[in-house]
């Protein structure tokens, strides 16, 4: 029995470059030890195993067009993610994937693209940003709104700076708590939406962040005239298997691992309104 035949068996990978993004967050390049890296779509995730500690679902944060390894941005929030975030170049780990649904970067061709990220939610959106910017001429206006707790928590700082200098992307960053050096926006990210320029009748919105942030963002987008069918969010639930067999990630009739994580808002809006569903 090989790993290719059994989706429960992780493949061996090793850590390539490591970039410490913030105090508790690192981006790891993961290189396959055997065979080529499988292709993936923006929005999909892998199951990463720290041997002897456990396994956790983490979205890809790298460019799907680059073929060498996977990039995952990991925040230390528990035993497994902590063990992963502390890995150094050369360390071995296990990987299963890719799993799940993708951002609608193909469907959005010809339309305005509004990307709204909260906190670590920027990581699963970054592959979509790469795809849109790589074929920038195929889209209308491109807007990126990003909210974090504080200026210290801003991810991909150098890259954000490069994107901000582009004249064909509108980027706004807002923080919940400013420090004395911060001269930018303060407040929650949905408040930025009415200020931005896009055609609500012809916009695809891709939203990722805490569930409450995604609900308020969807409401603000809806008020601005974007229909729920054009809003996509990436859901998070406990996952043990990633292949629809462990039952943990159920969200109504859907399994977030295979029917998500990227889901069209109109299909789940009524369930999102139910507490503890």
């Amino acid at each position: 029995m090989t790993a290719a035949e059994d989706p429960f068996i992780p493949l061996p990978y090793c850590v390539g470059r490591v970039r410490r993004e913030t105090g508790d967050t690192a981006s790891l390049e993961l290189l396959p030890l055997a065979g080529p890296r499988p292709s993936f779509k923006a929005g999909q995730f892998n199951m990463l195993t720290a041997f002897g500690v456990g396994e956790v679902a983490i979205s890809m944060s790298g460019d799907p067009a680059e073929t060498e390894g996977f990039v995952h941005t990991v925040r230390n929030v528990g035993a497994v993610s902590g063990a992963l975030a502390r890995l150094e170049t050369g360390a071995a780990l296990g990987l299963r994937g890719p799993f799940g649904t993708a951002w609608p970067t193909e469907e959005a061709i010809g339309a305005d693209v509004l990307i709204v990220a909260g906190g670590l939610g920027l990581a699963p959106l970054r592959p979509a940003i790469y795809e849109v910017l790589a074929r920038r001429e195929r889209y209308g206006r491109v807007v990126l709104l990003y909210g974090t707790r504080s200026p210290r928590d801003i991810l991909y700082r150098a890259e954000m700076g490069r994107w901000r200098r582009r004249l064909d992307v509108d980027i706004e960053i807002t923080v919940d708590h400013a420090d004395p050096a911060w001269h930018g926006n303060v407040g929650v990210v949905p408040r930025l939406i009415p200020r931005m320029s896009f055609d609500p009748q012809n916009t695809f919105a891709m939203v990722c962040g805490p569930e409450v942030m995604m609900r308020f963002t969807a409401s603000a987008l809806h008020e601005a005239g974007v229909s729920f069918e054009r809003i996509w969010i990436s859901m998070e639930r406990n996952m043990k298997c990633a292949i629809g067999l462990c039952g943990h990630c159920q969200f109504g009739p859907d399994f977030i691992c295979k029917d998500g994580p990227v889901m069209r808002y109109d299909r789940i809006a009524s369930l999102l309104a139910v507490r503890e569903i």
Binding site: C246, G247, Q250
Partner: protein, 385 residues
């Protein structure tokens, strides 16, 4: 083997003693024979070596929150309904190693499990056969089949035993799963007891079943034998302990996530997870990674329950903190979302969740109660269109 076997659909009659010969024939062919036994005051499933291991002359009485075994006046081998075990514990074991990893220097080698055991299940009820087919859909018919389950399932020999007794919490008639096994078995038995007569009508359900039956002393079934067997299951069908109205049930539950009955049941539910452990279709698992000092690590898969707080934990807290939302998840999944996910209800009407609930919560009563006053609540559904 086909030339000396009996073809599918053939019916024959064997004596009570031939059940021992059947166990021996299966063992001789390399199957590990599992069947009913009396242990710790219950009829459970474990290895059986011969006729003497079977629960001869025992029955069970069941009600919500109550299970007792009692003596029968006859020597029936299968004169009970179902106990706390189901065949799930063999096909989808409570604890199962998925793989081991060994580290040598920088290199990590992952070793898969073999799963080459061959099971023969003796005494599979019609509802349990239906439950196995439900889990077949879950584990084998999705985009990622479960390799270990599939290997075990393909090597399993199933001997159904049609029910001669309805348990007090049974409702297989409502779920259209019993009490007579219709398909999916290798052999199906109906126990015929009348005065001094104690025989079994045997029906061949597969080529493998026909080959095994061909080894046993038997006589062809006469029309009276077949009629007697039909009468047994007809009598059982008329004695169901419970009913569940399934018409529109999916829409009813998906359309009522805020029904006050969920608060009501949460006042009684202990969130103990018994219902999910005894359910023959509940499939949820968690994983545990364990490492040893010698550099090996392994991943173990264990049954889990949507009634635990941990089940829905993501950093920041559990999604389903209240018992109300956990009971709602279990019952709505079982009776409604399952149909969206796997094209079948997740309930087979075996009644175990009612019997083994320490406070006697009855899924049929909860569903009926939501149906009785669903008019007050929102219309529409949360299922897939």
């Amino acid at each position: 083997m086909a030339q000396d076997g009996l073809s599918v659909g053939v019916k024959a009659v064997i004596g009570r003693e031939e059940i021992g010969a059947l166990i021996a024939a299966l063992s001789a062919r390399g199957w590990r024979v599992l069947g009913p036994r009396v242990r710790d005051g219950a009829i459970i499933y474990d290895d059986v070596a011969g006729l003497d291991d079977l629960p001869a002359g025992w029955t069970d009485t069941q009600e919500a929150g109550r299970y007792r075994i009692e003596r029968r006046t006859d020597a029936a081998l299968f004169g009970y309904a179902v106990g706390p075990h189901s065949w799930k514990r063999f096909l989808h074991p409570p604890v199962e190693r998925l793989w081991q990893a060994r580290r040598e220097g920088d290199k990590v080698t992952i070793i898969a499990e073999k799963n080459d055991e061959k099971f023969a299940f003796l005494g599979v009820r019609a509802c349990e056969l239906a439950a196995i087919m439900v889990q077949d859909r879950v584990f084998m018919e999705g985009p990622y089949p479960d390799t270990a389950y599939r290997k075990r399932r393909e090597n399993t020999f199933l001997i159904a035993v049609n029910c001669g007794e309805a348990g007090g919490t049974c409702f297989c008639v409502s779920m259209k799963t019993g009490p007579k096994a219709q398909a999916g078995f290798d052999l199906a038995l109906t126990e015929l007891i009348e005065g001094e007569r104690h025989e079994f009508l045997v029906e061949v359900g597969s080529e493998a079943g026909g080959a095994v039956l061909a080894d046993l002393p038997r006589r062809p079934a006469a029309p009276e034998d077949i009629a007697a067997a039909e009468a047994v299951t007809a009598r059982t069908a008329n004695a169901m302990g419970r009913t569940l109205e399934t018409e529109g049930l999916k829409e009813l539950l998906q359309g009522n996530p805020e029904h006050p009955r969920w608060d009501d049941v949460a006042q009684r539910c202990l969130a103990c997870a018994n219902c999910t452990m005894v359910c023959p279709t509940c499939f949820c698992t968690t994983i545990a990674d364990v490492s040893a000092l010698d550099g090996t690590a392994e991943r173990v898969r264990k049954w889990d329950s949507c009634f635990s707080l941990d089940f829905s934990y993501i950093h920041g807290g559990s999604v389903r903190k209240e018992t109300k939302s956990r009971y709602r998840q279990w019952m709505t999944h079982k009776l409604a979302h399952w149909i969206d996910q796997f094209g079948t209800s997740g309930c087979v009407g075996c009644g175990r969740c009612i019997t083994w609930c320490p406070v006697g919560i009855d899924i049929t009563e909860e569903a009926a109660s939501i149906r009785a006053d669903s008019g007050k609540c929102q219309e529409g559904g949360n299922g897939r269109a």
